[in-house]
């Protein structure tokens, strides 16, 4: 009988290298996580983080929030037939402690210890109480002890013939141009798996993915596609479909610690930031720089549509206008706050007369961002601000952001299950100088205090109260100027498989990139067309 082969494009590359090391986040094939190494739990971001239990059948957070216990399903097996037990989980966590380079999600630092309770139960003891730790823990793949214990250098280990726990573990074909990954003979959830094999043709860039999509070769892809209705859907409107879900927040950020003393004065003035925000034409940016695909984010608390179930309606009523594009209002706000042209050079200056000169830094080659900046510059310039753009190498940009050594930039922040994460990543002073997500270098003790409390309460009502408060503080201070949430791209073809998630049935995020564990759920939901 014929096999059901699902043709997927999950990463773009000029050549395939046989590497299925689940810890090699950038070097492993994109089908390694989730498909070969199944997570303990998949949290569904689209449904308020609902837990879909996979290898684990349950987990239990201790009341003091200082430990969490996962219970594995009964009878789990590795793809080579060996049993998958709590020992493997403990081994994995010991392993990443031993080889810190493997810990690509920095989970070790939060764990005091990992202990086996019984063959199916593992307890993680935490350094700090944390109600959200499960989200982090499930991001680490569990590897078989009987294989990995003998690996001398797991960082460079290519794991060419993986032994895994997920649905698709058998590499039946591998060339630089294409590889195929087929069903796990010992998969615990085989009943739900209708797809026999994944085929991954090598595709180097968006146009190639588009070509493969347009001629119907691909069943499932994640790629930016210009003018998608014409270039893809129109080719076969019945089967060619897409659904773009909002994800990473893209925002303008100002460095509160920028080396230029005059700029610093302005940037630390909330009135200046608000005025700036009002001068950003988000809709045009989305339409032109983003082909209409992103979702405008005009939420001064920076959460926006993505976290709308967490939203505090107060924010919109009190501060909503600062997220709206309004050229006149922006100009008026600048005038009112004293930012007028004092020295007659045609550019607005600080109220004390010192000049402001803003250099918007974007990484070289990130075209949509460059376009967005160019569009923004039009209105900023029209409002009399002295702005220009520089496009250094991405590495320079990154280190500038990390050090706060820039004046203005666009920055992106990956989406997460809970608004706690964007806040902590953006405002945690411990991360200043370490992460580009703290690029604004904005400090607020109250925010940090509230975030600390947030992880330590378990009661949803209490959590909501804290989150509401947080949003008001952030919206009032407006430390970042949100612009849009960039889309996760998801294109699919219904001629060979059905069961796809879409706007009408947003059951989970169906994006097939390796940043979305829910893709596993999508795979399991697919049914071949007869």
């Amino acid at each position: 009988q014929d096999q059901n082969v699902l043709t997927v494009s999950s990463e773009q590359t000029t050549t395939y290298v046989r590497n299925f090391n689940p810890f090699g986040q950038t070097s492993a094939r994109a089908t390694t996580l989730d498909f070969i190494y199944e997570p303990l739990v998949v949290f569904n971001r689209l449904k308020s983080n609902e837990a879909n239990y996979r290898l684990a059948e349950s987990f239990e957070l201790a009341d003091d929030l200082k430990s969490i216990t996962f219970t594995l399903r009964d009878g789990l097996k590795w793809s080579d037939g060996e049993p998958l037990t709590a020992d493997d989980v403990v081994f994995t966590y010991d392993y990443i402690k031993q080889f810190p380079a493997l810990d690509f999600i920095s989970v070790s630092a939060q764990l005091a210890s990992v202990e086996k309770v019984d063959d199916r139960t593992v307890r993680f003891n935490l350094n700090e109480p944390n109600s959200l730790i499960a989200n982090t823990i499930v991001g680490m793949p569990i590897v078989p002890e009987h294989i990995w214990a003998d690996v001398a250098d797991p960082v460079t280990f290519a794991n060419e013939n993986p032994v895994g726990s997920g649905p698709m573990t058998e590499i039946t074909r591998f060339t630089p141009q294409v590889y195929e990954q087929c069903r796990n003979p010992n998969y615990w959830d085989a009943d739900n798996l209708k797809v026999d094999c994944l085929r991954l043709p090598q595709l180097a860039d968006n146009p190639q993915v588009l070509a493969a999509l347009a001629d119907g070769t691909l069943d499932w892809a994640t790629s930016f596609i210009p003018d998608i209705d014409n270039t893809f859907v129109a080719k076969d409107p019945e089967h060619h479909k897409y659904w773009f879900t909002p994800s990473s927040l893209v925002s303008f950020q100002l460095s509160m610690v920028t080396p230029d003393e005059n700029n610093r004065k302005a940037f630390n003035d909330v009135n200046f930031r608000r005025a700036l925000s009002q001068l950003i034409d988000r809709q045009t940016i989305v339409d032109i720089a983003g082909y209409g695909y992103p979702l405008v984010n005009d939420d001064p608390s920076m959460l926006g549509e993505l976290y709308k179930s967490f939203a505090n309606p107060e924010v919109a009523t009190q501060y909503g206008q600062y997220g709206q594009f309004d050229l006149d209002a922006g100009i008026a706000a600048l005038d009112a706050a004293g930012y007028v042209d004092a020295d007659g050079d045609g550019f607005r200056d600080n109220p004390d007369g010192t000049p402001i000169a803003i250099d918007i830094m974007v990484p070289n080659g990130w075209t949509d961002w460059i376009d967005a900046v160019q569009i923004s510059m039009e209105s900023l310039t029209e409002a009399g601000l002295n702005v220009k753009m520089s496009t250094p190498e991405a590495a320079v940009w990154t280190s500038g952001l990390i050090a706060g050594d820039y004046s203005m930039t666009l920055n992106a922040l990956a989406s997460a299950a809970n608004p706690y994460f964007p806040y902590i990543r953006s405002f945690n002073p411990d991360d200043f100088g370490k992460s580009r997500f703290t690029a604004p270098h904005w400090e607020n003790a109250e925010v940090m205090d509230l975030l600390g409390q947030y992880t330590q309460v378990k009661d949803p009502a209490e959590q909501k109260a804290l989150m509401d408060k947080l949003q008001i503080i952030v919206a009032e201070a407006m430390p970042v100027i949100p612009v849009y949430n960039s889309p996760s791209f998801y294109e699919y073809n219904t001629s060979r498989f059905t069961g796809w998630a879409d706007a009408d049935d947003p059951k989970y995020s169906p994006v097939v990139s390796n940043a979305n564990p829910a893709r596993l759920l999508q795979l399991l939901d697919l049914d071949p067309v007869e």
Partner: protein
């Protein structure tokens, strides 16, 4: 110069160049649109309002094209000048001084010649990150002089043997004067060819680097236009005007320069000339006035 005007290729080439130069000079007068402002909807095909259509961002292609001519020309001429000056000076010194100086210069020249140029440029430009046209011109100047040294040197070697250089030496002319006044004037055509060839090279290299995304996107230049068009998938979405306009402009500039270069070659080397005499000759033969 007068000879140039008698050469058909030169006249066509010069006409193209003059046209492009005029366009560059009068760019602001020639178009009502700013090259860096959105003045229309994205990717509008050519129309009365936008002669060459608009870009993905809604910029006017024609306006960008005429403003871009400035940058392409400036980089070409600037880098060409730098390349030519370095190449000529080193070439004459190596060829005339000989000995260790020659060995050293010659070694470096040959070495630079065997290190592939564009890959090196790519790496250098990437290293600099945001390569403004000025930076590109400077990098080009400092990496691409080798060919000039080679031809200038070999020509100098042969001129050095000429008796007029010998007699200048015997008169006691200082070395620099011999190089500047005895040798250099006789290299004019080679220097001219080198100069124009270098301009062609620089224009192409700039466009290539920018096309590959190593340029400064603030610039309005033909290379950046190519880059933007490519990034906007102009071909996939059928916006051919966005991509073809800078393409054709570059091809035209290259052609104009090459024609002039070819003509200089013909003038410097009369044997290459195929002037009007051949036409007359053919006429006379077919009229039965004579034969070979």
């Amino acid at each position: 110069m007068r000879q140039l005007l008698h050469n058909k290729k030169a006249v066509i080439g010069l006409a193209i160049l003059v046209l492009i130069i005029l366009v560059a000079i009068f760019a602001p007068v020639l178009t009502e649109y700013s090259p860096v402002k959105r003045v229309g909807r994205p990717h509008q095909p050519p129309s009365w309002e936008h002669w060459l259509g608009t870009t993905r961002l809604g910029h006017d292609v024609f306006s960008r094209l005429v403003h871009g001519a400035r940058v392409s020309l400036a980089v070409g001429i600037g880098a060409g000048l730098l390349i030519t000056v370095i190449g000529t000076v080193l070439g004459i010194i190596a060829g005339y001084k000989g000995g260790v100086i020659d060995e050293v210069i010659n070694f470096f020249t040959n070495m630079v010649l065997v290190i592939p140029n564009l890959p090196l440029l790519l790496v250098l430009a990437a290293f600099i990150g945001q390569a403004s046209p000025l930076v590109i011109a400077v990098i080009l100047g400092f990496t691409s002089w080798a060919w000039g040294v080679r031809v200038t040197r070999s020509e100098t070697l042969s001129i050095r043997q000429r008796d007029y250089v010998k007699s200048a030496e015997m008169l006691g002319e200082p070395g620099w004067r011999i190089m500047a006044f005895e040798i250099f004037p006789n290299l004019i055509s080679i220097v001219g060819i080198n100069f124009i060839g270098s301009i062609i090279f620089a224009v192409i290299a700039e466009a290539t680097l920018e096309f590959l995304g190593l340029g400064d996107p603030n610039t309005v230049s033909w290379g950046i236009m190519l880059y933007n068009a490519q990034n906007a998938s102009a071909l996939s979405v059928g916006a051919w005007w966005d991509l073809l306009s800078p393409c054709l402009a570059l091809a035209l500039l290259g052609l104009g320069l090459a024609l002039v270069n070819f003509a200089i070659d013909e003038i410097a080397n009369p044997r290459l000339r195929t002037g009007g005499m051949l036409a007359r000759w053919v006429g006379l033969v077919s009229a039965g006035e004579g034969k070979l």
